[in-house]
Symmetry: C2
Subunit: 465 residues, 2 copies
């Protein structure tokens, strides 16, 4: 599944210089290297040769300059929650661990923005915002680092209302391949001043630069929140209810569709008694009156699509109880087949194609014989299949891989994307040209070559140079 | 104000080949060249040597390939409404006029998206959307082309609610410097599949590629809209009312602040009797109940800041009557000094700095002796000063230029941008390094060199190579 490995030992002079500069924060310990050579993907670990625990942007810049001088690959590491092999050290090199750079540097309620170091997690930032009346919206499930979320253009359950990481990043601090420090933008809410470096580095997965600081938008805490769960006769009816709500301008806060198998997994894992049918987990927010109004519209739309009774929750602890099963869906699904690993797909298609695309996929899964629950952020057109495989079975891995490929191709055929929010990493590289065309990938390659001429930044990922 | 002109005559072979390929749609007529060599900026015209009226993406690609073969500069032209000298043919060359590429190619209500050729104007697109229940939101005032709006990352009065052109572009079709045709993305509402070419070409002002098709988001027409006008004792109070509304999560549809001088200009121009004081023009939209609720919050906030009585309008013709003066503010202001031209500034700062920044600017204007009304999209932190100068007076031009420079520097000092929505063009190039730093501009330059190695795409704009 991966390119032929071209590893060379870490140059001795390089290791000496890093040890001299950073003391015990630079390590070649096998255990630490191993820990930094695996993520949440199904790939076997590929450890780097060394790890540096950086404490500042200047230190990252200094380390990258040494990497450039010695032609050593360099891979940024946040919390290791990526799912496409983003951080595997294909060619060895240095992993720069940013997790100690976890400070919230500024909270500016009046500007609706905050700045944090890249290693700060989304929960860390939200903890710092407690009591301000504002929150940071992007929630990919894992307690990912802000730098990692920016680097993969992550999104998650409330994207339908508040947008993706791209929509919420105002500016980045980035160390480029020559060890320069670039601030991509100032803090105005909009700007037309030159090429949009913020969005170029966002989603570049460490291949164009290492993100060290992130300035994000904040949103006011809504006055009222209501959560609801409702089940449907089929996936199509559930999806269409959400699409019609969006067409009516209902600002849904979250709209998650879980298929029957996911619900069964949840019932077992969380000891719930949800009806095992395609189900929407919904959240509404705004003023009390707005929440009432939105809920009313959804109730009508759901009813028209054969939806069952709504379960409601408005108090925080009730909402949490109602939604917690959704938050644990991933882990619950893994337990459908204890000992299995998941190859997780990430197709995202135009809304009009979503119901059909999911329906075709569910049939495809049934034919394949694999166990593969399906759930998704249906307001975005994005859904995941967890293809559960026995890690010891090459046959199952091949079966899952070919199913994953059909899911990708189906998404592209529907004018969608191979990855809505997980990123390319290693696993989706082969689809980039199919999705974007040769000319577009050639442009990406020229950008990579221009900004990283030595190919030291997370080499072998996103685009092949 | 501009670089030394390096013009060379159009190569005869080039002109022959274009004439052969495109017949009378290729012209070297002086009148047509002149028309394509000026925009709405205060710059004197700099005409290209020839104009091509293109009718398809393939034709644009063919023309660009000829330009590359003969090293002829090529500048895209939409409707000529840019304001920073974007389309001046500094080095002559070919202007590709896209205005005949004005077709709406697809309207997809279920996907909340539409695709149009780059020469289609925003009003053209909205006309095609009539009766669908959806609209295209970005409104920069002028009836600009969608390609031009994407190329300058335009925004306008309803950005506070619906976002900028960047936020509303899903995908672009672009002809690159070698005449390749690149589609930057498919039509999913989000994607993490590789470098974000959409946002790289958006805002690149024709220097990285020529946009030939634009796929944009659509928004559902709100059920109810209410417009209001309210005046304040000072600019600060007006601005703070809007900022507090945003902090409270009120989804204002529009929030425009006009200073007393702008109101005076409007009263003269539109024969209105508005109180000559800093004034907010507001728009609320949503369901009837939401509009009621939002209006109530704004009334309270305005009152707390000394705001006067609200004038309201809800029926379309009343709203139009109430808002029309705002839409004509630019022209009304020019009439404050008949025969004058305007050097229009475009500072955009973090919200917390806006009131102070405008207040300092108003004082600065008073000291300068220039007539310069101020108005702005205060929810975005963006404001414009129209520095009205006698086009025959070099002294006034210099005075205006130095005032404009102080406004830019003040914005940058407040961690804002020299241009919130107009773009860099020729006029803001000198501030790019001050705003972004040397390292960031070096990255932009490397991108330009990588994607346009012959420097034929709108040369001499945005970044100097």
């Amino acid at each position: 599944m991966t390119e032929a490995v071209q590893r060379r030992p870490l140059p001795a002079a390089f290791a000496r210089e890093l040890a001299a500069a950073f003391g015990p924060r630079f390590t070649t310990s096998a255990a630490e290297c191993l820990q930094h050579g695996r993520d949440e993907s199904a790939y076997a670990p590929m450890p780097p040769d060394a790890v540096l625990y950086a404490s500042s942007t200047e230190e990252v810049a200094q380390a990258v300059r040494l990497c450039a001088a010695h032609r050593v690959p360099v891979i940024p590491y946040g919390v290791g929650s990526s799912v496409e092999g983003h951080l595997l050290a294909l060619r060895g090199g240095l992993s720069i661990d940013l997790s100690r750079m976890d400070q919230v540097l500024a909270v500016r309620p009046q500007d609706l923005s905050a700045t944090a170091q890249a290693g700060c997690t989304r929960e860390g930032l939200n903890a710092a915002l407690r009591g301000t009346g504002f929150f940071f919206s992007v929630d990919p499930g894992a307690n990912a680092s802000l730098g990692g979320m920016a680097a993969t253009a992550a999104s998650g359950t409330n994207t339908v209302r508040y947008g993706t990481m791209r929509d919420n990043v105002l500016a980045l601090m980035v160390v480029t391949a020559d060890g320069s420090i670039v601030r991509t933008a100032r803090r105005a809410r909009k700007s037309s001043a030159g090429y949009c470096l913020t969005q170029l580095f966002a989603g570049s997965e460490g291949t164009l630069g290492i993100i060290t600081e992130v300035t994000v938008r904040l949103h006011p805490q809504p006055e009222a929140i209501a959560a609801a769960v409702v089940c449907f006769p089929g996936v199509r009816e559930a999806v269409e209810t959400v699409i019609e709500a969006m067409q009516s301008g209902v600002p849904l806060a979250r709209a998650e569709m879980l298929d029957s198998l996911t619900i069964r997994a949840i019932n077992v894992h969380s000891r719930t008694t949800l009806t095992e049918a395609p189900t929407l987990f919904l959240e509404f927010s705004g003023s009390e009156a707005q929440v009432q109004e939105q809920s009313g519209v959804l109730r009508e739309l759901a009813e028209a699509h054969g939806g069952g009774d709504f379960q409601w929750a408005t108090r925080p602890e009730e909402r949490s109880r109602l939604w917690t099963p959704r938050h644990y869906a991933y882990f619950a699904c893994l337990q459908l087949r204890p000992g299995s690993r998941s190859l997780t797909t990430d197709a995202c298609v135009p809304l009009s194609a979503l119901a059909e695309c999911i329906a075709e996929t569910v049939e495809d899964i049934a034919t394949s014989g694999l166990i593969a629950p399906v759930f998704g952020h249906v307001g975005d057109g994005n859904f995941h299949c967890l293809l559960l495989v026995d890690p010891a079975s090459a046959e199952e891995a091949a079966l899952a891989e070919s199913l994953s490929e059909r899911i990708v191709r189906r998404a592209i055929r529907h004018d969608g994307t191979c990855t809505g929010e997980h990123g390319v990493g290693l696993h989706k590289m082969r689809y980039l040209e199919e999705e974007h065309g040769e000319a577009a990938v050639a442009v990406m390659r020229r950008i990579k070559q221009a900004l990283d001429p030595l190919d030291i930044l997370n080499p072998g990922k996103v685009v092949q140079v």
